[in-house]
């Protein structure tokens, strides 16, 4: 009977198979290399990055995804710049799984590559590695001509959470591309400095509703969000209910008592999701002024609205009790 266990000797006769004339056979050998999990496989894979057959190179890019560390990263760099897009895509996916900070050395030079896709993918991979020396190239990449590259550059900067990057991030909150603005606004969340909160606040007036939504949400988590309470109250009249919903949630979280009336005015909105969030926010604030807005929705047709309204009433009652 054959050995019942999966083999750990996949590399034994691998050299012959990697040199097979048929690309299909080479592909199968590369699958075995990836499967082996043996770090010694990386050197073989690295050599195969220059295989003439694109299918083989794609397989190499995939197989490299099974490994971490500077050697794997160096090999992935070679397939990320492959002329075949399918090969490059596979390499980009594998690269995004790297965790060893040592990988950054191999990837960093690609941030200046001629192809936007390569720049985007290398920044995306660098993000998870969180290495301080990636800040400078990422800051430069904020001026990249390609929006997808700028979005990933924001990620690299945002993951590092360094206050010195706030001016640069602030600058991209007025980028021409809405995706970039969205990313920039949420990357500012960590900052304890006032200018960051001010930039997020300005984004409440963005032309794109999704940027406004992110801004409303982010202010709820930012250390200086409180200073934006009035702007958030204005956002409760946004033409998109999605924006109002996040504004209500943030104001609730921050327990802004003067927002009660404006939140209350959302409670008759036809969109149940907004009514629910408004009721919950009134509960978090627990100001007696919320009562008159909550009463009409205590028997709202939507169970989530009813439940949150009831909970909110309880919060108001118990807080009143606590105050004597």
């Amino acid at each position: 009977m054959a050995d019942p266990f999966e083999s750990y000797d996949d590399l034994e006769d691998i050299d012959d198979r990697l040199h097979a004339a048929d690309p299909g056979e080479r592909r199968v050998a590369i699958i075995a290399l990836g499967h082996s999990g043996d770090p010694a496989a990386v050197a073989h894979l690295d050599r195969m990055t220059s295989d003439p057959d694109p299918g083989v190179r794609q397989q190499v890019a995939l197989a490299l995804g099974e490994f971490d560390g500077p050697e794997a990263a160096a090999a992935l760099v070679k397939v990320l710049i492959d002329p075949e897009q399918a090969v490059a895509n596979a390499a980009a996916d594998s690269m995004a799984e790297l965790k060893d900070p040592g990988c950054a050395d191999a990837i960093l030079p690609l941030v200046g590559h001629a192809h936007a896709f390569v720049r985007m993918a290398s920044l995306r991979a660098l993000k998870e590695l969180r290495r301080k020396d990636t800040l400078k190239p990422a800051l430069d990449a904020l001026r990249d001509a390609d929006a997808a590259v700028r979005v990933q550059a924001i990620g690299v900067i945002g993951f590092l959470k360094m206050e010195e990057s706030i001016p640069a991030l602030t600058a991209v909150t007025s980028d021409a591309d809405a995706h970039v603005r969205r990313a920039a606004v949420s990357a500012l969340a960590f900052s304890h400095m006032k200018p960051a909160a001010e930039s997020i606040t300005r984004a409440l007036a963005d032309t794109d509703w999704m940027v406004r939504e992110v801004a409303a949400e982010t202010l709820g988590t930012n250390a200086n969000g409180m200073h934006a309470a009035d702007a958030l109250i204005n956002a409760l009249a946004d033409e998109f209910w999605q924006v109002r919903l996040k504004a209500a949630r943030s104001l609730g979280k921050m327990k802004v008592a003067r927002a009660v009336a404006a939140i209350g005015s959302c409670i008759s909105h036809p969109q149940a999701n907004l009514r629910k969030e408004a009721a919950a926010a009134l509960g978090e604030i627990a100001d007696p002024g919320g009562r008159k807005f909550l009463e009409p929705v205590l028997d709202d047709p939507d169970p989530e609205v009813r439940k949150n309204a009831r909970w909110a009433m309880q919060q108001i009652v118990s807080r009143k009790g606590a105050l004597g």
Binding site: G24, R27, V28
Partner: protein
């Protein structure tokens, strides 16, 4: 009691022109959780041998040449 065979149209289709099972690939057969794919002795290519599919996709996702297509089994389409 005698047995009769029963016709069923299987959900998973393999493109023989793309399949490299004849070069030694067995990836789809290896990964299928229901173990319903096999390599044909006749064609040397992969095929669905048993109509017992969870339409879960590993066979299609992991095939190195994009030869596999998973369809929704007819009864629930």
């Amino acid at each position: 009691m005698p047995l009769a065979s029963y016709q069923t149209s299987v959900p998973v289709v393999v493109d023989d022109a793309k399949c490299i099972a004849d070069k030694g690939c067995t990836v789809c057969v290896d990964v299928c959780p229901l173990d319903v794919l096999r390599i044909s002795d006749m064609t040397g290519k992969a095929f669905m041998a048993y109509d017992e599919c969870w339409y879960c996709m590993p066979c299609e996702a992991d095939c190195p040449t994009g030869a596999v297509t998973v369809n929704i089994p007819y009864l629930l389409r």
